[in-house]
Symmetry: C2
Amino acid sequence: MAEQAIPTPGTADRDAGAVRARSPRSATSGARRPATIYDVAQAAGVSHQTVSRYLKGFEGIRPETRAKVERALTDLEYRPNLTARSLTTGRSRRIGALTHDIDKYGPSKILGSASAAARDAGYVLDVVALDTGDMDSIAQALSMIAEHDVEAILALSSTDEMTKAFAQIDFRVPALIATEPDEPARVASQFATVGMPALVGHLASLGHRRILHLAGPSQWSAARNRTRALENAATEQGLAVVRTIEGDWSAQSGHAAVSGLAALEATAIVSANDQMALGAILALSERGLSVPDDVSVTGIDDIPDAAFYLPPLTTLRMDLTGRGRAAVRELIGRIDGSEAHEPRAVQSELIVRRSTGPAPR
Amino acid sequence: MAEQAIPTPGTADRDAGAVRARSPRSATSGARRPATIYDVAQAAGVSHQTVSRYLKGFEGIRPETRAKVERALTDLEYRPNLTARSLTTGRSRRIGALTHDIDKYGPSKILGSASAAARDAGYVLDVVALDTGDMDSIAQALSMIAEHDVEAILALSSTDEMTKAFAQIDFRVPALIATEPDEPARVASQFATVGMPALVGHLASLGHRRILHLAGPSQWSAARNRTRALENAATEQGLAVVRTIEGDWSAQSGHAAVSGLAALEATAIVSANDQMALGAILALSERGLSVPDDVSVTGIDDIPDAAFYLPPLTTLRMDLTGRGRAAVRELIGRIDGSEAHEPRAVQSELIVRRSTGPAPR
DNA sequence: AGGTCCGGTGTTACCGGCAACATCGGGCGA
DNA sequence: TCGCCCGATGTTGCCGGTAACACCGGACCT
């Protein structure tokens, strides 16, 4: 408290007034630490707070002060340290993402679009992969994510365990499952009211009346939604789902399902995704049945490969990209407090290709 | 400095000795902040440093002190704050991951295994998706990642731009491209010396002599390695690569390449990945050619779907899972200073299915 | 018996930002 | 002309940990 700092610039020994002594940092030294606002402040001959104010875009800074700060910032190649900032602000600009089956088309597509949306908003996704879907590993992954101080939590796959975990854990931050939640009967999604009926109508118009359904794993809400939508649409249009076989989304499971059948009691196979449809087509061909002459096959998703199956697959295109983006936007909206719950619409569109044809008589 | 803190537990006014005054935290209040080591210390009647020591597994703590700390930790549901920790230690337990085409099989598979390996080592992957591969967006993404104080940087796709960016940017942290780097002729990878020769040998034994090559995009080092390995193996075994067409890894591009051909001058098509092979098979069928009776087709990767193509695809299985894991392990090794440069072997294995057969006479 | 060492803990400083408050000089009104 | 207000900037404290050092009492040594 002896003497006050003299604000005259250019004073030779002004370093003595520095609040914190720091080891000098020679510009020539090779592996120097990144510059902090204190380094910048010292170089510019101002206080660190002036630098901080400049960085936050504070207007009331005198032009010459501003110029000195700008110069020092570029000279020292200053980069903000998000860790330090988030310690005080609590804003880490990170969103935790949790998923298994990340190498599958759906989750990876959603992850890609979610990550892009996050990036555009200045956020980064902290991804933790799950090997198994059980509660223990989910809880463990969530606690890992929580330690990283994320501002929101996103799940990319919506199994029952995931849903349960999200329901019973208090995250203290916004949390969301990116894939479709269970759709109660009263919720009229575009998929259930337009997409699936269009697919079923397409089959009906070709004369099909009996459908074999290859369902996704029943612990996935997406699988349940698809099955329910199919059953509803079939009932309404007078078609019968004569049999439902549960697969695991893989071509392998679609193949096994159709191969294991004693008799094919249907003229059309509606698969809950494209890849099980691929397996089904192979199995049909191995049974000596032709697609679409003997049996029509449809998928859901319209993955890029589906247009190049043999035959190219009639399918329901789902807007996965939109879903990942919408999920991230909603989370960021909730973080910022703007409770803009835009009802992310699940868009779907019927894509007719050569895997469907007139029902055999 | 008036009086020393009396270490007697149970003293009524011991709060007065607290180093930092904190707003009291009622256990009943709903949205209370997470407990810190100071809260735990106060509850246990010890100093925060004792708590910190306990958390680090320091041995020399008296059993009764230890018990008090443990009790307070569980009572308050203490969770460490990684942000605060990493501010001092510089260890964020985060690895930055950079990728485009995250929805493609290769990158997403590698990402999944990398993320699992990271998780097992206590790390989280900070993923930033790239829309385009140009230097600007790479640089921007890298600077985003850098602000998040990652301990290492991983790229999941190895285009030329990525390679260049990695070569010219000083990351200050270990950095690695997870996919294959360019393999100089002298580097004898298992893929180049065993895998690809086995594939070519398989075709040779079936009587094929003229090969059409569907290459990957030439700015990908993986594509160049595959093309070079094919050319070398073909030369050694007396086969001719009569034509090379560059695709973009997609079935679409494989289809376009074969459709656009005036005449097929070869009896076998070697595609740089499975999906281009899928497109090629469809194009062949549209030309009235049968696989494998008229033309044999092979892929590389052995994606799960490849076994269910029509016909099931003969391909070279690549160990993508191992690659992601190996990359993360090497990075963590470098972080920890243990310079264990285990030469991550690119394992490959010939999988013969029904898309290859005897060459037509 | 006094000094020394040492195990067990407490205290202080620091990481790099942000927020609140303090300070200083000049313009302006009374 | 003096006090007040205000704009520009400096100072201090804090976020939640870790690291270095200080301190205290008892065992051991001479």
